[in-house]
Structure formats: C-alpha cells, structure tokens
C-alpha cells in the first residue's frame, strides 16, 4: 500500500493519463529529457562555481571542512527554496486527503508517503548543488573512502533540515492565509520574497562566488558562529570527524523527528479542516455584458490573478522585463561603451540589441502555456457551451495579451528614456516587445495543445510540472540567448533598423503561421481533448 501511495503521488506529479488510456511514450521522453537537461545545466553551473571556490578554500589535506560546510549550507538553501511551496501543497493543500482518509489506510501511511515524495524532491535540489562540489573536490584532491561515506551520509541528511524548515514555514503560511481574505496577494508577495533574492543570487552568481572565494576566513567564522551544524558537517566530510558528524546527525534528525511528530499528531485535523474563507455577503450589482471571447479571456485573467503559483510562474518574466528596461536605461552608457570598445558597435546598434534583449525576456512569460491544462475537470463547461474551438483558443490568447502587453509596452516606453535614442529605436522599443509577446502567446498555446495535462491533482502540476511548461521555459531561455547572440553577431552585416524590421517580421510571420494552426489542426486538437 505504501509503495502504491508513493507511486501514485509521483505519477500525479510527473505523468499525465491520456484520455484513450494509451501510453504516450514520446511525451514522457521529452519531459524527462528536459528535466535531465535542466539538472545537467544547473549541475554544470554549480560545478564551475566550486572550481573557483575550491581553489581558495581547499588544499587537499585536513581543514577543507569550510568548503564542504558551504556546499552543505547552499544545498540546504536550494532545497528549501525549491520545496517550500511544494511542501505546503502536499501537506496542507492536498485535495485527496479526505478521500484517502476514508479508505482503510493508516493516516501515518498517507503522511509518510507524502514525506517520502517531499524528501525525494528536496534531495534532488540538494544533490544538484552538493554532488558537483564533491566531484570538483574528488577530481582535484581525491576524496578518501571515509570522506565518500561521510559525504553520502551528509547528502542524505541535508534535505531533512530543509524539510524541517519548510514544514514550519508552510505551517506559518497556512496559518496566516487561512485568516486572510486576499490569500493570492499574500502568496504572490511571499513567492516574490523567496524568488527575488534567489534570482538576484543567480544573476550575480559570478560576483558572489568570486567575493566568497576571496574570504575563506570570514566564511569559516560565519559558519562556525551562526551555522555550526553545517560547519560540523563540513568537518565530518573533510576530516572524518565522527563527533562532528554526530552533532550534524543530531541537528538534522531531532528537529525533523519533532516536526514529524507534531504533523502526524495533527494530520487528521489538517487534512479535514475547513479551509478558512472569509465570507462576503452578496450585494446585487450591475452585471457586465461581454462577448463570448472576452468572457473566456476575462475568466482566464481571473484565474491567473487568483492563483499565486500561476501569477508568479507566468508573470515573473513581466516583472523582469520592466526591471531590465529600467536597468538598461541606467546602465546604457556603460553597456554601449563596452560594446563599442569590444566590437566597434555604434550606440544606435547597441540600443537595438538592448531592445531585442529586453523584448526577448518576455518569452519566459507563461500564460497560455498552461491555459488548456488548467481547465482540468472543468473542460466540460467550455466544451458543452456554444463556443467554437477558435472562440475558446482566441479567448485564451486575449487573456495573455491583457496580462502581458501592458508590461511589454511599459518596458518599451522606459527604453525610450535612453539618452539620445534614435527615432527608429524609439518606435521599435515598443513594437518588438509587443510582437514578440503576441508570438509567445501563440507558441505557449500551441505547446499546451500538443502536451496538455488535464488530470492534475493540484494546479501547480499543470503550471510547473508539465511538458508544455518545460518546453516553454527552455524555449524562452533559448530564445533570449539566441536573439541577443544573433543581434550582436549581425552588427557588421545589418544596419540596426533592418535588424529590428527583420526580427519584427519573423515573429509577426511566426504568429501568422500559428494563427493558421489554431484555425486548423489546433482547433481539431482542442475538440479531441
């Protein structure tokens, strides 16, 4: 039974059950291929960081504990950021609690199955950081057998700390949101509070790593003074120090066991509690009449704004786009000078590159990419309504425009403040982000039509853990690199105005092709769902 519960939970997170019951091996392969690519990508990033850090922190003899301590701490932080929201969804927001509790299954078994899944999730995040640290060290200095044993033990234990912290934070979130009327806003702010430092860390990673690498003594002192368990972990791996290992073991196991005991004692209460809603009395108001397409669009917008996971994942690119535009205005002169000195690029061409770069950030906006999947069990409403497939699909596209285009336009207006920007660049600063955003809406919708995930247990699975979402994220990231790279590469061949016209034309034509797809195969595909 336990195995079945765990497998069910995993399969609900990673697989979709096709309507016709046939396995779709291709989709699964793409999905896992993308996950492996992501793991390798991040693994390589951490690998290169640890090469820099190990140069300064390690000498291959005893006393390299600070290096492993830092790796353990960063692994814990990564696992915490990666799993805190999942913890909340799996423990406090799971929709199948009542169903499972009504079956002859012990509550402890239901809870244990969830804990196992969360552990694997946190372990994956932790390992992405910790394993490269070990490989770098082993490659440079050779790790003893005892070092390997300790490393593996610490790797197993580190996620328990992040899980304990996640349980507490998720419990606090639950406590606060159950008393709030506007839970979504709170969750959005909270997610941004977690994401912004994380994104800032990723963006400034090279500088931070260089900074940290130069300050071994300071890092050691901070770890010893404020984060001693991690220091103990580092010493255990580096010097095979059993006492330090036992300290680390106690610090991980005891709080985890206490958290588990508290949760298991209150699990039935958690699982069966009425979700706190602040009741509002209906006051009759004039109802707004809309066209069918706009009704679908506004429904989608409401869904987007009412779900913090959707709003944050889908809308992060919008905030980044505006922030990048502000940054570009402030730093344009430095950037233009750098491009001029390196490549002899004119200021006008540099401005065009900035326009393309900022517009391409909009490619990671994900509104339509899960719009079909999110219909889930509610798909019957649209399908039994007198709406043609194209009405529904267009409604979903309109929602993307309503959400994303104001940000694209604002980012363009901000770019207009670059000192001395030409008239052509001023015009395309608004046109390129808008055209690109229209393309992104089509691309996302087409992805979701090809890879829908309608059988989710909670909406986060459709938003974050579907093949369509992975393709869109990777496609978006690839697009940013590709567009900026091509723009820079073409500076000797094309005038900047022609570059901007070509990019606008390519994405305009791409949107036109997707429009044809939606009217033909896309509509057919929707009707088959």
């Amino acid at each position: 039974m336990f195995k079945t519960l765990v497998l069910t939970r995993f399969s609900s997170m990673f697989f979709r059950k096709p309507k016709d019951g046939k396995k779709q091996k291709g989709n699964t392969n793409i999905y896992f291929g993308l996950i492996i690519f992501l793991i390798l990508d991040f693994g390589f990033l951490f690998f290169s960081n640890y090469i820099v850090i190990s140069d300064q922190f390690c000498n291959g003899t005893t006393g390299d504990g600070t290096y492993f301590a830092l790796a353990a701490f960063l692994s814990m932080m990564l696992a915490f950021i990666g799993s805190v929201m999942t913890t909340q969804q799996q423990i406090y927001e799971a929709k199948d609690n009542e169903l499972l509790l009504s079956m002859p299954i012990k509550p402890s078994m239901i809870l244990s199955a969830r804990i196992v899944v969360l552990y694997v999730w946190a372990f994956a995040f932790s390992a992405i950081n910790f394993v490269p640290a070990l490989i770098v060290y082993a490659g440079k200095y050779a790790l003893s057998a005892s070092g390997w044993i300790m490393s593996v033990l610490c790797l197993i234990l580190v996620p328990l700390i992040s899980m304990t912290v996640s349980f507490i934070i998720a419990w606090l979130i639950q406590l606060i949101t159950s008393r709030l009327k506007n839970k979504t806003l709170f969750n959005i702010v909270l997610t941004f509070a977690l994401m912004v430092p994380y994104m800032a860390f990723c963006m400034k990673m090279y500088n931070i790593v260089s900074f940290v690498a130069q300050r071994k003594d300071d890092v050691e002192s901070v770890l010893k003074k404020y984060l001693y368990p991690f220091y103990a972990c580092g010493m255990a791996v580096s010097d095979f120090n059993i006492v330090n290992f036992l300290i680390f073991l106690a610090v991980t196991i005891i709080p985890f066991a206490i958290a588990m005991t508290v949760i298991s004692k209150t699990f039935i209460k958690i699982a069966t509690r009425k979700k706190g809603f602040v009741k509002t009395k209906y006051v009759e108001k004039r109802l707004k009449v809309r066209s069918a397409r706009m009704a679908v669009a506004m429904k989608e917008v409401r869904h987007f704004t009412s779900n913090s996971t959707y709003a944050v994942n889908g809308g992060m690119g919008l905030i980044m786009q505006v922030a990048a535009a502000i940054y570009a205005v402030v730093k344009f002169n430095t950037l233009a000078e750098a491009l001029n000195s390196m490549l002899g690029m004119s200021a006008d061409y540099a401005a065009a590159v900035v326009i393309v770069g900022i517009a391409s950030i909009g490619t990671i906006v994900e509104v339509t990419v899960c719009a079909i999947s999110l219909e889930g069990k509610n798909l019957w409403i649209l399908k039994s309504s007198p709406l043609s497939a194209i009405d529904v699909l267009k409604g979903k596209l309109y929602a993307h425009y309503i959400i994303a285009l104001p940000f694209a336009i604002v980012s363009g207006i901000i770019i207009n403040f670059i000192p001395g920007i030409s008239l052509v660049n001023r015009f395309f600063a608004i046109v390129v982000p808008v055209v690109l955003q229209i393309f992104v809406a089509y691309f996302g919708l087409a992805c979701n039509l090809c890879f829908p995930k309608l059988d989710w247990q909670n909406e986060a699975q459709a938003i974050k853990q579907s093949t369509a979402a992975f393709i869109a994220v990777f496609g978006g990231m690839g697009m940013v690199i590709l567009l900026v790279g091509i723009s820079i590469a073409l500076y000797l061949v094309l005038p900047y105005s022609i570059l901007l016209i070509i990019i606008t034309a390519i994405f305009g034509f791409g949107s036109f092709l997707y429009e044809l797809y939606l009217h033909g195969k896309g509509s057919k595909r929707y009707l088959e769902l």
Partner: protein, 237 residues
C-alpha cells in the same frame, strides 16, 4: 426535440452504446434509467457534444450535433453528474460568465439569476468563491447556470444527487413548469421513484442496448417501476 437515431459509441473494442434510438418531444420529461456503466452518461455526453460517436445521428430541433454543434449547444443546457465548476470564480461571476457565453441580455440574466438563486437559497453566497461551496450548493449553482439562457432542451446526468429535499423539490417543480411551456428534459437517474412520478417517458438501457421505452404506464403496466426494472435487469440482452 431530441432525436437519437441508431447511436453507437465504442471505446476500443468495448461497445458502450449499441444502436440506440430515442425520440424526445418538446415539453416531455424523459427519464433514462440503467445500472452503472449501462451507457447513460456516454449517451448524454454524445448528445451535448462532449463525446464523439461512431455511428448514428443525433439531432436537436432538427439540427445535427455533428454538423452544427454550436447551434445545438446554444439550444440546450447540460448539468453533469459531478458539478466541477470554476472554483476560482465567485458564484455570481460564474453565472455572468455563462450568461456571456450564451449571449443572454443584461436584463434577462439579472432577472433569471435573481429568480433562481432566490429559489434555491444561494443568493447571499453569490459573492463567495465557488471553492467554498458545498457539493449541494455547487449543484444548485450548476442548475441555475443551466437555466439562464432559456434552453429548449435540458440534459441532466443524475440531477438530484447532492441536493437537499427542498432543492430537489424545487428542481422537480421547475422541470414540470418549464415542460408545460415546451422545454424538453432528458435526464438519467437511479432514483426510480422520481422517474416514476416525474417522467412522461422512460427508457431503460442495459449494457449499451435499449431494452424498453415508452410512457411510464406503458413501461410499468400494473407493476411498480422498481419491479419492472429489476426484472428487466435480470434478463439477458
């Protein structure tokens, strides 16, 4: 109003509905009875355009469901067995959304919403998100949504499940009153007592085959509908 002619639907090798023919006239309340897995929901979903079908034809008011599904859907209302609604919406926003989709005028939607939500006692909850509604409240909301656009045919899958006795009574009253004005009802049910008292016509389906149909009196004769149903259920198809 609803013509189902020689309908056949297969899931792979399994024939879910086999050569089914039913005719439902305007103003008629037509009960569709059968055991679990008999093919009731499949038939209903084919009628409302949620499932494609392999053979046969379904027409609503002379319009083919296959050829002009949008026109058909604009004439009907569907209430599923499990009211999965948009939980992120409030009740009133959901009803307004449905009114937009069916192109109901502002005046009509206001009066219908007021009338039916008052009748079912859910008016005061309309501002709350649907996720906070009980199963019965969701079912009531789904019924109100189905009535907003004056459908000519209402197709319901187990409409009385989850309703409290008062709401069930109100639904039956609405059905009778609307039927008098010409609206046809086609609904599946397991509650034979309801079917016996409410319906003009009854069809019993078993393993995808229609085994009997006719007026309630024709079907049950001098027996109770329960006796007839159990007897027919025992027979081989």
């Amino acid at each position: 109003m609803l013509y189902i002619n020689n309908l056949t639907k297969r899931y792979g090798q399994k024939v879910a509905v086999d050569n089914l023919t039913l005719h439902i006239a305007p103003g008629e309340i037509y009960g569709f009875i059968g055991h679990n897995g008999a093919g009731k929901t499949t038939t209903i979903k084919a009628c409302v355009g949620l499932h494609d079908f392999d053979e046969g034809e379904i027409t609503i008011n002379g319009v083919s469901v296959k050829k002009d599904p949008i026109k058909c859907k604009s004439m009907i209302a569907y209430i599923p067995d499990n009211p999965d609604l948009y939980e992120f919406m409030s009740g009133i926003k959901y009803l307004n959304f449905i009114a937009d989709v069916y192109k109901v005028s502002e005046e009509d939607r206001n009066s219908k919403i007021e009338k039916y939500t008052d009748l079912f006692g859910i008016t005061k909850d309309l501002a709350n998100p649907i996720v906070s509604y009980s199963h019965g409240m969701k079912q009531k909301l789904a019924i109100v949504a189905a009535l907003i656009h004056n459908p000519k045919l209402i197709i319901m899958d187990e409409p009385f499940v989850g309703l409290d006795p008062k709401a069930a009574f109100e639904v039956k009253e609405i059905m009778r009153n609307m039927a008098k004005e010409g609206t046809a009802f086609f609904f599946s049910t397991h509650v034979l007592e309801v079917a016996e008292k409410l319906c003009d016509h009854i069809a019993i389906i078993k393993e995808g085959h229609l085994i009997i149909d006719g007026t309630v009196d024709e079907v049950k004769g001098n027996n109770s509908l329960e006796d007839v149903f159990l007897e027919l259920e025992g027979k081989d198809v």
